[in-house]
Structures are given as C-alpha cells and as structure tokens.
Subunit: 361 residues, 4 copies
C-alpha cells in the first residue's frame, strides 16, 4: 500500500479524477495464461454502476472498460489470455457535465476531502471531488475482476449490506437474494424496511450509513505472512482505504471484547483432511494466516457527505458559509461499496496467493 | 507492510522468537541528529513489561534494551545522536524456562497460531508460541519510542483501555489517571469494577477481551497519501497487525452507520489559523489525509487464548484432545496492548511525516 | 524497481505492447504545483522519435502524448499544474501495420526476448516484440520529462553518444553539437565517420553497438541513501533496465582497475562553499551519496538484434531455422537510447531528491 | 533496494558500524525447512575474512556469526531448519582498537564517504568509516550463504579476480585454482605477477584496482521480471552497491559496442531439452529474463582509498590538509570483494527464484 498502488506481487495502481478525461488502472504481476475479456470485468462494474435504482446516484456513467495491454489472443490460445505483463484498464468519463464549479471551488464540504487536499497539496481538482471522488472505486472493482481470475472459480467472494441506519438485517445470509434487490441485502425481509427508511432520508435531504459483510469461502489454510503482512492487517488496510469507510472488523470483531476466552476460542475436532472448527470467531485467520475457514470481515461506511440539508462550513479563505450539496448523490454510499468490498478482498487474496507461492514454491 | 517490515521511509523490521536467544528490531530511515538513549526506549518498554500487577503475566522479563548501531556520540554532539543509519535494538531473552514442550509440541491451542503456522510452514518453533508470541510486540514498543523522537514533543500520543469484558469506562478521559492504575484506565471509577471482574475471570481459569482507544494530538493537517496509502488505512493495518486484535475503527467508527449525514458531518467554523471543527466523527482524517484534529482510533483485543479451562482441539496428526494452558498468562492481554497501540500509532505517524516531507519538501 | 514500476517516492509504472492499442505510464508521488503541459513532454519524446534520420528506424510513430490525470488548471493557477495525484500519460499506437506474423510467431530471434518470454510465461505477444519492444522506452522519456520538472531548471541532465562500433568520439564534449547531428554526438568531427560506418553496416544488413555518456550537473551533495539504495546502485539498475544495455559504469568506471590509489583519489582543495575536487574519478558519488560534482555514467548498448543477415536459430518446437529480420529497424539502437538514458537519470534523481527530503526534512 | 534493505521476497536488511558493538542482518521471506547452521555461514565468511594473506588487511576479526532467530531444531527435524520467520544474524566486533580518532574526525579522506556522509547527515560515526566501512560486506556474505540454501546445490555461483592493476589473467577459468591462491585467481600463472605487483604497490604506500568475474551456472530459463525488475538490472544494482565498485557489465558488456549484430547474436541450435546457444554474449539474460545459459557479470573495484601516500584534502571546516592513512588496509580491496560478489549474486537469484514462483506458481 503506497500512495496509489497496493499489493506486493499482484499490484494495482489506479489513476484518474472524477471529471478528467478518463480513469484507469494498471495491474502488474498477474500470472500469464488466464482468460480475461472486457465482459468479465464489465459484469462486476455493472454491479457498482450508478443509476440502477432510486437508492443510488442517478449519474449516467456507462463505465465501459477497455483493456489496453497485457492480454493477447492468437490461434494457439483459446480466447484472450493474460501474458504476465501489465494489464492496463481504462474507462472514459462521459457524463462530466460542464457546469459552473465556482461555488464549490472555494468551499469546504464537510465530510469530504476538500480541506485536507488543500492543506496537503495547496491546490486541488475540485470538479466532482477530483481524485477523492468515489468514482475511483470503479477501478478497484475492475482490478478485483482480474483478481478473481487469479484466485480461480473455487474461491468464492461475496458481500452483503447487513445494516443501513439503525436497521439491521437478520443473521441469515441468503446469498442468492443479494442479486434480487437494490441493496445487496442477503435477507429479503429487510428490503422494504430499508426502502422506506432511505426514501425518507432522501426526501429529507439527508443520507444514511451502512455496514457491509464480506467473506471469502474456500481460502486454503496457510495464506498470509506474519507479523506485519498479516492477512487480516492487509485486509483491514484494503477495506479502510475505500472511500467513507470508518471501521473494519474480522470474525467476532468488536464483540470479542465481551466474550470469555472459552467462548471465543474456535475449538477443533477431527475433520476429513484438516481440523474442523466448531466456531469462527477468528474470522478465518489466526496469527495473520488463514485457517481454512471462511475469511470474514465487516466494514462500516459513513453516511454520504453530500446532502441537501445545509451544514456549516468555511471557505478556503476562512469565510463562514453554509453548504448544501445539490445534484445526483447516493443517499447511502454504502450500497455501492458492496462490490468494492468484494473487489478489495479479491485483490488482497490474489496477492496473498502469489506471495504464498513465492515463499513456499 | 511486508512480512516482518512495516513503514515506507521510517521502516521497522522485527525478528525473534519467544524462547530464542533474543528478540530485536532494525529501524531504517530515521532522520539524523535526534537524541536517543537506551533509557528513552526503556521507559516505554517498562510500561509494557510483564509482572507489574496481578492482572498481567507473571513472567520475569526485565526487557533490557541495547542499542547496537545507528547512534553516535562525540564531543561535538550533546549526547548520543542518531546518525541516519540503521538503528539496531536487541533484548536478550532471559526467562526462557527450560521445560518439557512435548505436550504443546503436537497440540493445536485454539485461538493461537499453532494450526496456521503448521499449515503454512510445515514446521514451527512451538516454544512459547515462537514468532507468533506477543513477546514480539516489545520491539514494536521499542520502535515506537524512536518514532516519538522523530515526531518531536509537540505531537502527543496516548492510549487508554476503555472496555474490559462487558464493562465500559465512562466517556471522560482523565489521561493522568492512566499511569495510576494497572489497566491504563483513563477513568478512576471503572478500576475497582475491572479489578473484581478480572480477579473472577482469573480464578475461573478464563480470560477477557478489551477495547483500547488511542489518539494523537497536534498532528498537522496534510499528512497521509491517498488513495491506498491513506493515513487511516495504514493505521488500520498497523493496529490490526498487533496480536489478538480483531477490529479497528476511526472516529465515530461503527457508530457512523446509525448517524444521518448531517449528524455525521464535522461542520466547520472560522478558527484562528485553520478551520475549527465542531465535532470529530472523522477521527482526524478525511480522504486519507489528516485534518488537524485529534487522530482517533479504537481497537478490540480478543480474550487471551491461553486459559486453564479445557477446550476441545486436535493434534497435528488429527487426534482429538483437550487443551488446558497452565502457566503465567495475562488474564486480559488487552491491557499490555495499550503501549503497543501507542507505539504503532507513533510509527505510522513518523512514516507519514517523512513521506509528507518527501513529496512536499 | 519491481516488475514494471521503478522509484520509491517518485514512482513510474509503464504498460503497453508494441502493437497493442496504446502504451502509457502512471507517475505517482509527483509534488504538486509544478507546471506540466503535453508540449513539455512532447519535446523530449520528439528527440527519441523514429524516422528523424536514415540512421534510425523509418517507422512512423508520431508519439503524441496525452495527459489523462494528475494535472489541473483553474483561474487561480497560472497554467496547468500537477496536483500531487497520479499522472497518467498515454500514447496511442498508430503505425501497427496489420501484417502476417506467422513467421516470427514461432521463431526465436537471437538477441531478442522471444525465447525467454516463452520460457517464463509460456505465451507471448509476438507482434513487434510485444512488451519487450524498445517502444516501451517512449514512456521512460515521457516520465523523464516530468522528473525534470521535479528537479527544476538548475539541474541539467545531458547525454551524448561517445562511441559507435569501434569509432570513439574525442574526449571534448560540445554539448550544443548534440542537437545538430543525427547521432547526439558532442563532437562534430566524429559525425562523418559514424555516417559512413553506419551506412555501410546498414547496406550489409548488419548493425552496430554504441556507448553513451550521461551526466547531471548541479546535483547537490547529499542525495542517495546507503547501503543498498546507493545513488550509483539505483542509477546502475535504471540504466541497465533500458533495452539492449549490457554495462554501466560510473566516473572512471572500468578504467579504475588500472589506476593507483593516489591517481584515483579525487583530491580536494578549499572551495567557495564546499570542497573543490581536483578530479572526478568517482563520477560524483562516494559511499552511494552525491558529492556535488557532476554525476557521470556511461552505458553500452549492444548492436540491434534485428538484422537482415541470416542467423541460426530454432523454433518454439525446437526445429532449426535461419532468421532474417526484414523491416524498418534501427541500424544502431544506441542512438535513440540517448534521450532514454537522460530520462532514466532524471527519474533516479527526482526520486533521490524526494527521498532525501523525506529523511532530512 | 531501499536504504539498507534489498530484495523483494528474499529480503536482506543489514545494520552496524565498523567500530560499534556488532554488525548484523535480518533475512526475511526465506522458505522454511532448509537446513541452516552457523558453520554453513561461517564457511563463506572465512573466505572474506581479513588477515588470511599479506595482500589483505591484517586486522584480526574472527567474524564469528551467531544465528539469533528463524532457525529451529526439534526431534522431528533432522538438524536445525529455517522456520520461514526472520533470520537474524550477528557478528560481534572484537578488534575495535581504542585509539585516538581526533585526526580523522575532521578530515575528509579522498575516495571515502567522509565528505558525503557529512553533507547528507550533518554528523557521522567516523570511527573506521562507521557505516560506510567495507566491514558491512561481511553481512552480505552471511546473507549470501543463506541464499545459496534457497537456491539449492544444483545452482553453482563462483567468482574470480580476473585483473589487478593493468595485469589481466588469461581467459581460462580453472575454478579449483581460486581456492589455492590469495587472490581468488582462476589462472595459476597470473599469481606470481600479481604478487610482485601488489608487493610493490604496498611498499610504495599505494594501492590497486581489480576486476572480478562472477557467474551462476544452472540457473533455469525464465527467472527475472521485465521491464524494471529485469534480472540484469537487479544484478547491476546489487553489485554496484558493493563498496568501491564503479562499474558492472553483463556478458560481452562494453565489448558489445565493437561487435556487429551478427557477431553479437547468440545463435541457437536444437538442444536436448532447450535451445542450445552457440555463444553467450548476452551473459545469460535476454529481455531481463534468464536464458538458461551461465549468468555472467563483471565488476570493477577501484583501488583502496586508504593509502600511505599523502593526498590533498580539506577538513570539515574547509581547512586544507594532507591525508595519509596509516593502519592495516587492504592494498587491493578488490580481492576480498570476490566472495561478496558471489553473495550478492546468490541473493539476487534467491529473490528472483521466489518471485518467479510467486507469479508462476
């Protein structure tokens, strides 16, 4: 994780501003010989795309991805294959409405990175948030689609929204359901609750936070590298780096504070080929290394900072102002963070796989 | 963060096993000319040392640190100074009781890294947990003491235990109080509650989890580097990499899910030299860059896995066994994690400072 | 230096194949506020461009660079400025003649990376050399133009061809002359010698090697970081990574073997502000740190491997064949490596500057 | 390569000053299960040790290495084995004569790093060169011994001195001979020539430079990673980072400038399992990837800077002085650089092996 690059062997570098000509990423270190088509990437991008329901932003970004390098097809290979060289992906920005930015040029929108970018860099691309826009997460999703190819079909990564505002979904996870509602809910019963809650928030010019659960099934035991490159430490960084995320927990997470040692211990019995665990409070990782159980994390996404309700702020020059953000914003940015969380987990695991192979052969 | 090294410009590499001849670290990239004595490091180490109360392990580890390189004193400098070359620190292990390890050699202690180290490496140093022992965190504390010198006296880093088991401290933070009780509590009233709770847990052969809060005051606005080297992402990785930590949150953290956009927004008014914030739900970081407010994080430490109460497990060969861990263990490892959390925050900030200087001059 | 990225704080990642849709690079860590226009980059690219004389390839690649991110202009800034976020540069490939590649698809061209890419990756993009094509060096030149902005106008980087085949230029360096002949010669008298030598080589279906000298003037003393990040070690890696380079030397280089200790010592006398050196056998670096003298390196570029003269080889399947490479190839690739060498030195120095600032403030 | 660490997956960090209490290194990322004893490391260290002939320094440094971590032996393993955790090695400094350093404290010895360390850091440990002392290379040799275990017995790395002063050895390489003379010469006939040449230099208070050849046999085709992590680029950095090295070449190296394309091409014929090359001008690497031929490099070591012959210099404060270096110095530091060059090649290859495994599985 260094500036705009993450990963050690499976390395992703992203670039681009919300209202520049394009956004993109370069994926380096990908193994050769993997099938990779734009459609494979597009499928994941479409899950994150704006405008798919009234609960997400209404911007029109078709987000058509192009593969500019790193893939080759000839008559010896059955379809386009990765070559082991850098994969360059690009999405052209097509819905950059030319408009008057003079209002936000000098105002610091609370919750956004306006003040901090100015404090750091002394100047910033204020159009639509520039580099700090959540638009950047499209390239994480694109990279995640490549990472899934590295992991292969056996490792399944999936995420669901489990809480919006104060409304928690039940503990059951009906994963097929996540494709059937606009919230990526794994619990059909919570859907109408969230609908009316978010409709209300939207009408009130407000917004809502959310909690997302993400898991990876069939991760082999042994991935990850103590003591600073721990699998959970890398996952925490990857998830925390997503826009608006304010917390990450693994397994029992913050609940572990309340548990006794014997409640928290993931006891073991004899399994077919490996130990069988009687619980998963560790969330699939112990000592920074995967146990073979489901790798399980949760992350919290703060409520969208762009709201119609006026909030107090200052300008660049210190003048006191009120800020109301009009426009086409997500009432709950947490929703579209679901495929992003999956992508980050895929990237962390792809990197962990390659690093494990590196040390262990 | 890569295997046993973390940091980019202020880089810390640790080494050593619980029952090997010594543990140590190498700190590379430290600016020259800083005063550094063994006493400065020892002061922090003594706060983490075992045997200081009945609520921590009774092992006798004097943890005397030696500086083996990177510091020089001549008559031109007023005391020993860092030279800008690698600082090597070492602590000899003196309380390695020679004992019979045959029992734990083959048994997987639930909650420990026994099963995962075997799954990854095929062999492991089982004496006292080897590399996965919390003993490694002593070197984090040592490195943190050096990091504090890099940050200078104006930046204040401090942490407190705020919850043990189900017992939360109040919201007031009486920081002086943290030095006056065995829990690093910032609230004198919770101390007797935790005492009786932990005495009971200990007698029952059980253990307890804890939540720690850590903050840094006077961090200038502008540190951190989007979008993957975000200050909060690096902090999350650093804290999550501490043994037994299962969750990290920044500012309002998981509570942010329940807040509305206008409640969560850190509104601003005109300040003396910089914007004055009316709240700190962001925990001092926005868009991955410090805002100038207190940098604020919380972490959860799971209950000690080494307990007297028997738990079900298996051996290396798959045989079913019960595991009871005798010996001198912390009933709540969270307590001694308090100085470790401070150290990790210090290291993250020292690195962020140098990287900020690098890009901005 | 890691796969397709180099640099630590000023980091360059390049991507793209010779005959793919485009080539590009991402420059991360660049300081904000620097003026950067496509014209500034184009100026350097034009020096490397094919088709400028009969001594370089006759391919028509206009190599028009586009800046896709990281630069912003508003009415507060005087022209487009870097923002401190990743700078994405792209050149579309326009002269990809659609042709029959079946002949080179299976044949290993001696001196090229055909056999090694196949050995490593199991497949390769054989069109024009794919990723191993010297076309990739265009992006090094583009990145170098950005690096020069980081270094500022005071640091002057310049290179010249000093030997082609067995014909050495004299020791005088008339730097203005390098812009006046097709060889980047700093010695007008050698120009006709090289012209007739290369005309002959070209007619014979052969090719020639070359030696290039590159130097940086006004580098402050103190840049570079012992002991593995030495300035000369990083420069050696950067120059050796250029296609077809087989050797790098600093200062007196291989001649130092013949010198006595007293001949080789760069003796010092009192200077105006810093020591004045009486020679520069060290090439401006001692102990891995710049001395303040000219940073001086030489590199050798092997003769172009693509020649008309048939050479013995094998196919992918081990069948013995003869290979003759028709087409529009440089009779001496060393010539166009001159601006590439300058660019790599600029990138190494920009990174060294930022790293020095990082540690020293 | 970053400050005092090199390697990506097989990572070596060294620390320590010439006259501090000890020097050491930490090797991270080593595969588990490899046999490793102090004797294995000592064997290589003894080849570099001072005092073995009159042609090297007469200091008495037994250089006894200790393994402090990362190796474990129990009754399940046949001897001590690496565990996959950091290997910490240390050598205590025993021949630090307590003496008066006031003379060199303020004087800049030409050719040494005195002036540059002061320019960079503002202070330096002047005792025996401190961190810039060639003593640091002992830890490179120690790390190289571990790297050889990673590579296994099939890959053979060997080096020889091939030129001292103006006296070149013949082209034959009698590798067994290198163990039979004090110069690591692979040509018995040059030995008396070098003896009398160096005796004379020593008597004259002078010193001599040298050229070393180093090669690795049986490196599989396919190691290395274009385009910046090229095997030859990494090797160039590793060798150039050795104290006093001023040039590195691969294969035909600087001679390639004189060759025609057809002379330089390593033509191929059908081999048993892989192409058989008819020459090795490429030095075993093409496009940054190993070809399967011998990996072949040469490096030049400048004459020892510490000489009795007085040379002109200045003090820290700019006063003009003459410097004569008394004491026990190598008349030709190139000789003891032979095992260091082998070690650096071993480390580069161990890292390349692990990285190749990482990407390719």
């Amino acid at each position: 994780m260094s500036h705009n690059t993450f990963g050690h062997l499976f390395r992703v570098t992203t670039w681009g501003e919300s209202h520049g000509p394009a956004i993109g990423c370069v994926i380096d270190g990908c193994p050769p010989g993997l099938t990779l088509t734009p459609e494979m990437i597009q499928r994941d991008l479409d899950r994150r795309r704006p405008g798919t329901s009234r609960f997400v932003t209404q911007r029109r970004e078709p987000d058509q991805v192009k593969i500019l390098s790193g893939v080759f097809e000839d008559d010896r290979t059955d379809g386009p294959r990765t070559t082991g060289t850098p994969i360059s992906l690009m999405i052209e920005n097509v819905d950059q409405r030319s408009k008057d930015y003079s209002e936000i040029r000098d105002r610091y929108r609370p919750g956004h990175a306006d003040q901090t970018y100015d404090a750091k860099y002394g100047l910033r691309d204020y159009r639509g948030g520039g580099r700090s826009s959540a638009r950047e997460t499209a390239m994480r999703v694109a990279a995640g689609a490549v990472a899934r190819q590295v992991l292969g079909p056996h490792i399944l990564i999936r995420a669901a929204t489990i809480q919006i505002g104060n409304h928690k979904a039940s503990l059951r996870r009906d994963w097929d359901e996540t494709a059937c509602n606009p919230f990526f809910a794994a619990d059909a019963e919570i859907v109408p609750v969230w609908e009316s809650f978010l409709d209300e928030a939207r009408k009130a010019g407000s917004s809502a936070g959310a909690i997302i659960e993400v898991e990876a099934i069939n991760v082999p035991a042994g991935w990850g590298a103590p003591v600073y490159g721990k699998l959970d430490a890398e996952l925490a960084a990857a998830l925390m780096s997503i826009n608006a995320v304010k917390g990450v927990e693994i397994g029992a997470g913050f609940e572990a504070a309340r548990l006794s040692g014997e409640e928290n211990a993931d006891q073991m019995r004899k399994g077919a080929e490996a130990p069988q665990f009687l619980s998963n409070n560790n969330g699939g990782v112990a000592g920074g290394i995967s146990t073979g159980q489901a790798l399980l994390a949760r992350l919290v996404v703060k409520p969208t900072s762009s709201i119609l309700t006026p909030v107090k702020s200052v300008t660049r020059d210190g003048e006191e102002v009120e800020v109301r953000t009009k426009g086409r914003h997500d009432p709950c940015v947490g929703i579209r963070a679901v495929p992003v969380a999956e992508a980050m987990m895929a990237c962390v695991l792809a990197d962990a796989k390659l690093r494990h192979q590196g040390q262990m052969g």
